[in-house]
């Protein structure tokens, strides 16, 4: 199985409007206007939460789609940022909590996440395929149990509570609308960064390494360094998602970074399609909607079965996720526009 990500090749000179794409502009307008029609619950618990997990899945997509490295440790990296926010900022658990202002805490937390991600990457780049998956799973599990049993730093099973998003410019950033725009802004930024990065020299090199590491090494590229740097970049994305996650929940505990959540992130990326950056967000919306509302459809006893079945069907019908499915049925609709094309 090869996880090849599609990137558009050399493009003719275009004006910025064409470059951005009509669909992106339409999507942006729709998302900006979304708070006008949505309830507070849908703004934060569905849209905000989906975007947080979308960014997390995007960091996995970056590694898997462009670098060929499938990781289960993305939630661990996000958790490191989340715990850093709790420890360096304020919490009500009476353990640590240095009370630093948010504009110092956030860069610190993201940096800590990125560095740990690079470390995880440095350990796991020597492996390939299923072994990368296993080693990252081991790291995720070990971190989970360590957090659960360590009281000096992680405060054990109960973790940290009472963590509040910052209030500045007269806005409480955990209020539904500001928090939605915060998530949207970050998601858009991450998405644009990944799209841009995939076409940059580094992105191209990474994809070349994914396709044929031996040839790249022979050409004089430092394969390990490129891979570790990709982990570092993915760590920045995951760290940002972790900061939003801890502000969203107002708390962080080992349950936040459990193995089931790690698998959720993988499922989101796979359902959306590991080859497409936008797929991460699409997958997140599907998964979050399912997790939230499946209990209303089939009752409390069997709702996890329904969620599992939907995942199975999507992956069975289309190994490349929802976007792959669309890619396969599109030709049937596209005949008209092909003839009318420029």
């Amino acid at each position: 199985m090869s996880l090849t990500a599609a990137t558009d090749g050399a493009m003719p000179q275009q004006n910025w409007l064409d470059k951005l794409g009509a669909a992106h502009i339409l999507l942006a307008v729709a998302l900006l206007l979304y708070p006008l029609v949505a309830s507070d619950f849908f703004l934060t618990q569905i849209a905000g939460y989906s975007m947080i997990f979308g960014v997390l899945a995007l960091s996995l997509m970056l590694l898997a789609g462009y670098g060929g490295m499938l990781s289960l440790a993305q939630i661990t990296v996000a958790g490191i940022a989340a715990y850093a926010v709790a420890i360096l900022g304020n919490n009500t658990s009476n353990v640590l909590g240095f009370g630093w202002p948010w504009w110092i805490v956030v860069p610190f937390a993201v940096a800590a996440a990125a560095v740990s991600s690079a470390l995880i990457g440095w350990i796991s780049v020597r492996t390939e395929g299923i072994y990368t998956l296993m080693i990252t799973l081991a790291i995720a599990t070990a971190t989970f149990y360590f957090a659960q049993q360590n009281y000096a730093i992680f405060n054990g099973h109960s973790g940290y509570a009472g963590i509040h998003a910052p209030v500045f410019w007269g806005i409480d950033w955990r209020d539904p609308k500001p928090f939605y725009y915060l998530c949207l802004g970050l998601a858009a930024l991450s998405y644009a960064a990944v799209l841009y990065g995939s076409r940059s020299t580094f992105g191209m090199t990474l994809q070349a390494i994914r396709d044929n590491p031996r040839r790249m090494r022979a050409l004089g590229y430092h394969v390990t360094a490129h891979k570790v740097f990709a982990w570092f970049l993915a760590g920045i994305l995951a760290g940002l998602a972790g900061v939003l996650l801890v502000w969203f929940n107002g708390r962080v505990s080992p349950g936040t970074i459990g193995v089931d959540v790690a698998i959720d992130v993988l499922v989101i990326a796979v359902i959306g399609g590991l080859r497409h950056p936008i797929g991460s967000f699409l997958g997140a919306i599907v998964v979050i909607l399912m997790q939230t509302f499946a209990i209303d459809i089939v009752g409390a006893e069997r709702f996890n079965t329904l969620i599992g079945l939907v995942f199975l069907v999507i992956v069975f019908v289309s190994p490349d996720g929802i976007l792959g499915l669309w890619g396969r049925i599109k030709p049937h609709f596209a005949q008209e526009s092909l003839r009318a094309g420029p």
């Binding site: 339409l26 999507l27 619950f41 708390r251 936040t256 209303d296 669309w326 890619g327």
Partner: protein, 413 residues
């Protein structure tokens, strides 16, 4: 570009449509939050039976209004409990919420309750002390008692009647077992006993060999506060390692999920004293009537677990208070909360009323494991400790001086 346009449209409509589907009707919605997934699924399902028993007694309505139950599921982690509570309150629009089930969940939901002053929260079975004792929420009520109250009488009984002077403790590593150990030691240490070693193990631990090795040789008994599979694993391994010290059980250590297990474990368990909010051989007619009503629920156990009991009591209190205010929660639940604070009623296990922190004062049952006439192990009622309050009968200022419950407090080595 077709693909992306359609994608955008799909996203947009998909995310807005459900928010428009809020309908208004005359039913009263009650949110029911329990663990329908994760390690406590079985307990969560039994708690639902308890809540449904209370609802069936009221014929599914109060003050002429139908009760609609909206279920929310957590996996016993505080995050998932708050997420489920948020969904019930913010999306389904419940004004009354019953739950959650376990200790740390209760602490998290209490914090959430403070941000929703118009919603009334009634506990399920979560039994951490500080859910109501320190920094409580005005709109969080607990008609089930806490884990320290459940231990009332046990410490004294172990010291005086059983003659244990030195006891080691083995318990799971989170807020509910801390509270249980606290409740046991508060009495045991006061009576003159010593606890030289305390072991805390993570939930779901499989290998207890290092824990067993750490238990001092010369203890008179071991106090075990582990739940379900953890209890069975520990007891089996302790026995295989040649351990022979008698046991003292936490409230969920010697319940039916452990007592029904097969093998030599049965011999070890016989004679184990314990305490909790229920007893299997309670002869009171009210308890027997409750057991019969409970057994009508699908999939019921031979005897209701303390989770079924706790959710029953809390749901019953909710329905009684709703009846008093005519099912009217349009004032942001103010009248309902007043009615709840003043509520005092007879449960299958005796009278329950609330203290100023909205925590229950109720009877506690001291029990001992015996073999029933049919060969099944059950908890025989030894003594009823009447009307235990949250400070275990100790004056409040003196009790607060004992400090917050945690791994190291209390201590009497």
């Amino acid at each position: 570009m077709h693909r992306r346009t359609l994608l955008a449209l799909a996203l947009f409509t998909g995310l807005t449509a459900p928010s428009m589907a809020l309908a208004a009707d005359d039913a009263i919605k009650i949110g029911l939050l329990a663990t329908f997934e994760g390690p406590f699924t079985v307990l969560g399902e039994d708690s639902e039976r308890g809540a449904m028993t209370a609802l069936a007694e009221a014929n599914g309505s109060v003050a002429g209004k139908k009760i609609e139950i909206v279920k929310g599921s957590s996996d016993a982690s505080p995050d998932s409990a708050v997420r489920a509570a948020r969904k019930l309150v913010e999306q389904d629009g419940v004004k009354v919420l019953v739950g959650p089930l376990s200790g740390d969940e209760g602490l998290a939901v209490k914090d959430y309750a403070k941000t929703k002053p118009d919603v009334t929260f009634i506990n399920g079975t979560s039994a951490a002390q500080d859910t109501t004792l320190r920094n409580p929420a005005e709109n969080f009520f607990r008609f089930s008692t806490d884990g320290a109250q459940w231990m009332a009488g046990l410490g004294t009984y172990a010291f005086k009647d059983k003659g244990y002077k030195k006891v080691a403790t083995v318990a799971e590593d989170y807020s509910f077992p801390y509270t249980q150990v606290f409740g046991f030691m508060a009495e045991f240490c006061k009576a003159g006993g010593h606890v030289p070693s305390k072991s805390w193990v993570p939930i779901g631990n499989k290998d207890f060999s290092s824990v067993i090795a750490a238990i001092p040789e010369d203890v008179d008994a071991i106090y075990v506060a582990l739940g379900g599979a953890d209890a069975v694993n520990f007891l089996t391994q302790y026995q295989q390692a040649g351990g022979s010290a008698p046991l003292i059980g936490g409230s969920i250590t010697v319940d039916q999920t452990v007592l029904t297990s097969k093998g030599k474990l049965r011999d070890v368990l016989k004679g184990t004293p314990s305490a909790g909010p229920t007893a299997d051989t309670n002869d009171a007619p009210a308890w027997k009537a409750f057991v019969d009503a409970y057994k009508k629920q699908p999939g019921a156990f031979p005897s209701p677990s303390l989770f079924a009991h706790g959710y029953y009591v809390n749901m019953k209190a909710t329905l009684l208070a709703l009846d008093q205010v005519g099912g009217d929660v349009s004032d942001g639940g103010k009248k309902l909360r007043e009615a709840l604070s003043k509520l005092s009623f007879d449960t299958p296990t005796g009278k329950v009323s609330l203290d100023k922190n909205r925590n229950a004062v109720a009877d506690i049952f001291l029990t001992e494991v015996t073999e029933g006439s049919d060969g099944n192990l059950l908890n025989k009622l030894v003594k009823v400790v009447p009307q235990v309050n949250q400070t275990l009968g100790i004056p409040e200022d003196e009790f607060m001086k004992l400090g917050a419950v945690n791994r190291d407090n209390p201590s009497c080595p």
